[in-house]
Amino acid sequence: MRYIFTLMLALTLCSPALAEERLKMSTTTSTQDSGLLKVLLPPFEKKHNCKVDVIAVGTGQALKLGEAGDVDVVFVHARKLEDKFVADGLGVNRKDVMYNDFVIIGPKGDPAGIAKAKTAAEALKLVASKGAIFVSRGDKSGTHTKEKELWQAAGVEPKGNWYVEAGQGMGPVITMATERQGYTLADRGTYNAFKGKKTNLVVLFQGEKGLFNPYGVIAVNPKKHPHVKLDLAMRFIDFVTGPEGQGLIAGYKVNGEPVFFIYGKK
Amino acid sequence: MAAQFNLTSIQKRYGNKIALELEELTLWPGHLYILTGPNGSGKSTLLNILALLTKPEQGEMAFTGERVTWKNRELNLMRKKVTLLHQSPYLFAGTVSANVAFGLKARGLSGEELQRTVAESLELVGLKGFEERNVRQLSGGEARRVALARAVALKPEMLLLDEPLANMDQESAQVVEQLIASLPDRGTTVVMSTHDPRLNERLEGDVIQLMGGRLASENGRYPAYSSGDQNPGTLKTMLMADALVMLEG
């Protein structure tokens, strides 16, 4: 019996020592939950005989991992934070990869009447004035950052029992909003994945330029962390921004609908 | 012949209570000592000290001429020469032979020689063929005989026995008594404690009396009269020698 355990231990420990190279990538939970990576990564892994280790955490932590040098490449959707990341000398070769948008979802009955709002900011103002439940990510993620921008544009400081700061990922927040029959700002990808079986909330506001949600990929700066796999990271960036990666992204659909959009033609 | 054990100014305390206090105790090889005294008189404490399992708070000890330093390596070597059999002995989980072989294995014995020694010891206590029995299946008397075999197998220079015959069935008691009586002639000094006031009628031994943690002699010494480095022989011969001196003088 002892031998079986020792064997298992040995095998587990040996796995990092196996021939393949491993590229560590941090990304957001919503990116992972969209399921895109399951179609995007395998062709890259096969082509370059490597394995991409995906560590899905909140945007804040994803960037922190890059800063600490615990990952080789960062794939998030928080433009302002990404720009700061590069400006601070923590990352190099930032490239746009894809985009989708945010939507404001809520109960079918729309108690705050946001469907008739002209702007996203106005929609949130209506929610606040009605005191309708609004669930916030509360975790400094890209979504949360966008949400805060909208509150600022609306000239409202969200406070009170109606404003629920969940401190969790997009999935749990949609679940919570569903339970409480409240509103929330969600990225379309995660919402589409939940639509139907896991939530009865519907999209009540969408389409505004301000709800644009761009994704970027950045390699961790080798000057700061010499050990990072720069070569492999660069190849990854080339892959996702190149024709093959872009094709996979554009073609990825959930429930028959595309989740992400690419820049330019094809 | 040198003394086997020499204890001087011994004091053993448990908390504030003094369990044992003696001025001097000298034990000679080849004797059979019978330790008597009521409950709580310090018999077990003395045996544990002689077994080098308990360190007295005060006092000096010398075993076979060497001073007892209570340091690990030397202590272990000395413990291989003096073995204690508890009043209610603990048998290790497993077979009888595993128990009897325990101390022998610790001394590096193995293979055929080990098996032979185990068989011999079991025969001495009247448990021939008991090797493969599990200790859980033994009766009370059998268990204590196995413990005795386990100790005797080591042919120690000194064997300490804490009430070896108490509450023992007749058959076992006879076997054990006979074995104990034969030990001094086999080269093992015996110190045994007992409640039985008539034991000395059956076994010829030197009686050491304890009372309230002290030796029941006027000067707190045993032997009561100091005879320097000479082995005084058994009590009988001492008395006879005295008688001769008296007759001659």
């Binding site: 019996m1 355990f5 020792t6 298992m8 231990l9 095998l11 587990t12 420990l13 796995s15 990092p16 560590k24 939970t29 939950d33 394995k51 280790d53 995906v54 560590i55 899905a56 955490v57 600490a68 040098g69 615990d70 990952v71 969790q168 990922g169 999935g171 749990p172 949609i174 679940t175 994945a193 939940f194 896991k198 939530t199 962390h225 050990h227 | 544990n48 077994a51 399992l53 690990n72 272990n76 413990r79 291989k80 003096v82 073995t83 204690l84 508890h86 209610s88 002995p89 603990y90 290790f92 989980a93 325990f102 101390g103 610790a106 001394r107 386990r150 100790a151 080591l154």
Partner: protein, 228 residues
């Protein structure tokens, strides 16, 4: 709750379809737990023995400390080890973070107090005649302690079983130090956490059922070894 029935069905279909991801997670769970408990036993049993048998000042403080460590939340242990093995930490040079080895380290730290504590209890509850008997028969202190361990092996085995239960069911350490990487550091528990965060309650519970089945099998095995 309709999803409980659905989850039972899902769990069996996952098992019988030999779903690769599920089996990978099971393998990782068991492998990491096994590695951790072996290391924890190597450190924890001697530690428990030493504290129980030894006589030293502050003995009570040490025992209280041990009891407190047993109640430490797994996230806290995860954070502390994270701080040490992250690239920014003192042992960052080894690049251990987000590997199975990191999880083994964290879970070993988690299990050592449990194994030590149970061992300590076993020794305290053991027959006080064991050590003196072995010593008087001429065994060295080390040999005597080994014999003691043999006599209390049932309790020592219980220590290992308790430690194993703790590590195979925990999420905090595995998540923080492993990163829940699919096919690499994803354990049953981190997979369940992931599925739950995606709102896949039935699937999450199905994985939970599989985990319980695996734990049951392993405990039957350990119990069998204990009785021998």
């Amino acid at each position: 709750m309709g999803f409980i029935q659905e989850s039972i069905r899902t769990s069996f279909s996952l098992i019988f379809s030999l779903d690769w991801e599920v089996f990978s997670a099971v393998w990782t769970s068991v492998g990491v737990a096994a590695g951790s408990i072996i290391l924890a036993a190597l450190f924890g049993i001697p530690l428990g023995l030493a504290i129980a048998i030894g006589d030293f000042p502050l003995k009570r403080v040490v025992i209280t400390l041990l009891n407190t460590l047993m109640a430490m939340p797994t996230v806290v242990i995860g954070l502390v080890v994270y701080g040490i093995i992250s690239r920014q930490g003192p042992l960052g040079g080894f690049g251990l973070l987000f590997t199975p080895m990191a999880m083994v380290i964290g879970q070993t730290v988690l299990a050592i107090p449990i194994v030590a504590n149970y061992t300590l209890s076993s020794v305290k509850g053991a027959d006080p005649r064991i050590l003196p008997t072995a010593l008087t028969l001429g065994a060295s202190p080390l040999q005597s302690v080994i014999q003691l361990v043999h006599e209390i092996r049932f309790g020592i085995m219980a220590a290992i079983i308790a430690g194993f239960g703790r590590v195979i069911s925990e999420v905090g350490v595995a998540m923080m130090l492993g990163g829940n990487i699919r096919g690499y550091t994803r354990t049953m528990t981190t997979a369940i956490a992931l599925e739950t965060s995606k709102g896949e309650f039935a699937f999450g519970l199905a994985l939970g059922i599989i985990l319980m089945i695996v734990a049951l099998i392993i405990n039957l095995l350990l119990n069998f070894m204990q009785q021998r």
